[in-house]
């Protein structure tokens, strides 16, 4: 059992900002989509656009941080232990079996997390950003303008943007649940709030962990 500083200040700031923004974007976005009614369409559009721009700023900082710290490597998908991790969530977790992947400062994510987060970063977020930007800055065909900037209609863009939104809601639900599957119900949440987590390594022999990770 060792108390480690797992999540750096920026990382936590980024995570929670992102969480806030995605929830807010989802809320206003589904209002624009016509699924819910809260702010009213006009206000929802304004707020959605403000949040979107804020998110873009955050993304720029996050990319910079990931690149300069090399933390981006955390998200490189691996097949190692993937099966074991799946089996853990399907069977092991109910038998109180140990986590198959040891969480360390240098390898914070289990193979399933790597896969899902990489998917978010490489597919869903870029999809949302690009379709969102087109949504904001598209132009209808008009005379005397640069034709290459025109799109005939919003249908494709809006459909992709909505699809991404549904994926994010799905992720959000699963994510909220899965944070309860740490060593204790709240250990993951605490770690993301404070940065510190008790990295237990192997429950039976804590000493083994440090050997493995180095």
């Amino acid at each position: 059992m060792k108390r480690e500083y797992v999540y750096k200040g920026f990382e936590r700031f980024w995570h929670w900002m992102q969480a806030l923004l995605i929830i807010f974007l989802g809320f206003t976005g589904f209002e624009i989509h016509g699924s819910i009614h809260f702010f009213g369409f006009e206000q929802a559009v304004k707020l959605h656009n403000v949040a979107a721009m804020t998110f873009l700023v955050l993304i720029v900082f996050a990319i910079f941080w990931h690149v300069t710290t090399g933390e981006w490597r955390q998200y490189l998908p691996t097949r190692k232990n993937l099966r074991a991790q799946m089996e853990y969530y399907i069977f092991g977790i109910f038998r109180n079996a140990p986590h198959p992947t040891k969480k360390t400062v240098l390898s914070k994510l289990n193979p399933l997390q790597k896969l899902v987060y990489a998917g978010l970063k490489v597919i869903v977020i870029p999809l949302m950003v690009s379709s969102g930007l087109v949504y904001m800055f598209y132009r209808y065909p008009q005379r005397y303008e640069v034709i290459s900037l025109n799109i005939a209609g919003l249908k494709v863009v809006a459909t992709l943007h909505t699809l991404g939104a549904f994926l994010l809601v799905t992720f959000f639900i699963a994510h909220i649940y899965l944070i309860t599957t740490g060593s204790t119900i709240t250990s993951n949440l605490k770690a993301m709030l404070t940065g510190y987590e008790d990295l237990t390594g192997d429950e039976q022999s804590p000493s083994k962990k440090s050997n493995e990770s180095h």
Binding site: G9, F10, R12, F13, W16, M17, L20, I32, H33, G34, G40, F41, E42, V45, K46, N49, V50, M53, T54, V57, Y89, I93, F94, R95, N96, R139, Y140, P141, Q142, R143, A152, G153, L154, K155, A158, T159, T162, L163, A165, F166, L167, V169, T170, I173, A174, Y177, T180, L193, T194, G195
Partner: protein, 524 residues
């Protein structure tokens, strides 16, 4: 913990900064409204006082004498007037599929009082000339030009009912001649507010309430506001007025546009400005028309001709609006109406005299062209006027009946109530055979709604169109509007994913709780 508080604080700071920056109004509109207000509040004082002209200090026994006096000084103006459609009641228009045709009030049919041919004595009260009572009227005689209808500023000039454009006997011509000036709303409105035989019958957005409107009725013409006159927008150059109506014209030209003053990017909000490419100003800024008095929506000529004790009669509804007249049939009126919406590119087609119709479906007297994919098209508000009107069942074309009767036995329906006679005489005048068999056919006319602009705070809210069901433009489909449209498979897939995930979480969590309880039981 300290760090957490700092990062959360930082987050809130960044968020609120961005919100403030984005919500702050940076851009000023291209033409500030204050500038426009200044411009139109400045009322011009005329540069001459016609009262002082000796030429006008005399008794005029005929209106032609007044015209002669006008022309004596303004010695080229009558030529301009005589080239205008106000004078000719026709102009050359290209009609798609029909080529270049000469059309206008002179020869076109509508689905209100139908047409002027044979009825000039009454209809042509609104012609800017004297004595167009039949087809023999001399369009080349300058003395027939009625300068006063438009330029009377004494507010005492009226034309005689059934007088073919001659002034009413009560008019003091000398007084009127000495009080001429720029046309005011009352000059234009006298005719344009009463088209179709009564107030607001035709347009719905042009009616007597605009003589003295409040801001709520029309922000531009409001007496308590800018008090703009018709000619402030319908500007004229050499007596050729800007603007026309698609009931009598076909081409995308000579239109009055809000952009003349407000520019193509009038809003400070870019999202609104982007709308102007596909949505006409009127669409959002005229939430409703016929704001004060009702307008006619349906006119059924087929019920005309009922008599009580051999006499024609009228029936009114509780608001004092005609719902039945023996001479015209039955009407449906509407007030505070939401417009219909169509795509419109500025071109229109027309039913022209002699065109064959298909009586099995409503005949489009005029049809406005446009669609989403056409870069010239915008969504515009319109009034649709429907009618049931007379046609020749054998030759399959609309009939121009003679309605107005000027002398005994001329067939005028409003005296004789005999459709056969009225058709026979009317068709004779427009040189088309009448088979002797008539029926009634449903017809439709589309009238763009352009006036009665509401104040900013009464503008159509975004959500009136951007909503799932029953939006204002629900009938316009084939393109994507956020808030209204969606792609069904994405909705099904997305909702399915969410439900499955949620169920999975519940089941997984449930089993976990159950399993841990079991283990606790075991361990105790």
């Amino acid at each position: 913990m300290k760090k957490t508080i700092i990062s959360v604080g930082l987050g809130v700071l960044v968020l609120s900064l961005t919100v403030m920056l984005t919500l702050t109004d940076h851009g000023t509109p291209t033409t500030p409204l204050s500038t426009l207000r200044m411009k139109y509040r400045q009322k011009e004082t005329p540069s001459v006082d016609h009262m002082q002209f000796t030429q006008l200090k005399k008794h005029f026994s005929t209106p032609q004498e007044v015209t002669s006096a006008c022309i004596a000084c303004h010695n080229e103006r009558h030529k301009e007037v005589m080239q205008s459609s106000h004078w000719n009641w026709e102009r050359q228009e290209y009609v798609e599929g029909k080529g270049i045709r000469t059309l206008g009030k002179k020869n076109i049919l509508n689905n209100f009082c139908i047409g002027i041919s044979g009825n000039e004595q009454s209809c042509n009260k609104c012609h800017i000339g004297y004595g167009w009572g039949d087809e023999k009227f001399d369009f080349k005689n300058p003395l027939n030009v009625d300068c006063l209808a438009c330029h009377d500023n004494s507010n005492t000039y009226i034309k005689a009912v059934g007088g073919a454009g001659m002034p009413d006997a009560s008019v003091n011509l000398t007084n009127v001649a000495q009080h001429v000036g720029k046309p005011m709303r009352v000059n234009c409105g006298t005719c344009h507010f009463f088209g179709g035989g009564g107030n607001n019958v035709k347009h719905g957005d042009l009616e007597k309430a605009l003589f003295d409107p409040t801001r709520d009725v029309d922000v531009h013409m409001a007496s308590d506001g800018e008090d703009m006159q018709c000619v402030d927008c319908h500007t004229a150059r050499k007596h050729q007025m800007l603007g026309k109506m698609y009931s009598v014209s076909s081409m995308n030209r000579n239109r009055v546009e809000c952009e003349q003053c407000h520019t193509a990017l009038p809003h400070s909000d870019d999202i609104l400005n982007k709308h102007t490419l596909k949505v006409a100003c009127q669409t959002c800024h005229i939430p409703e028309y016929a704001k004060v008095n009702p307008t006619k929506l349906y006119w059924d000529w087929s019920t005309a001709g009922k008599l009580k004790n051999g006499q024609p009669y009228e029936e009114m509804d509780s608001n004092g609006t005609d719902v039945y007249m023996s001479i015209k049939g039955s009407f449906v009126w509407g007030k505070n109406l939401k417009p219909d919406y169509i795509w419109f590119n500025g071109t229109a087609s027309h039913y022209l005299i002699g065109d064959t119709i298909d009586p099995s479906k409503p005949v489009k007297i005029n049809a406005l062209y446009g669609n989403y994919d056409d870069p010239d098209s915008k969504i515009v508000p319109v009034k649709i006027h429907r009618a049931n009107q007379i046609y020749d069942t054998q030759y399959k074309y609309l009939i121009q009946p003679k309605t107005v009767s000027t002398k005994e036995g001329d067939g005028g329906y409003w005296k004789e109530f005999d459709w056969n006679r009225a058709s026979e005489e009317g068709m004779k005048i427009i040189d088309l055979p009448y088979s002797g068999k008539y029926g009634f056919v449903e017809t439709e006319m589309t009238w763009p709604v352009n006036h009665m602009i509401s104040p900013k705070n009464k503008t159509v809210p975004c959500a009136d169109c951007h909503k799932r069901n029953n939006g204002r433009i629900a009938s316009l489909t084939g393109f994507y509007i956020p808030g209204r449209d969606y792609t069904s498979w994405v909705e099904y897939l997305g909702t399915g994913l969410i439900l499955v995930t949620f169920a999975g979480v519940l089941i997984h969590g449930g089993v976990r709780i159950a399993a841990s309880r079991k283990q606790k039981e075991k361990s105790t």
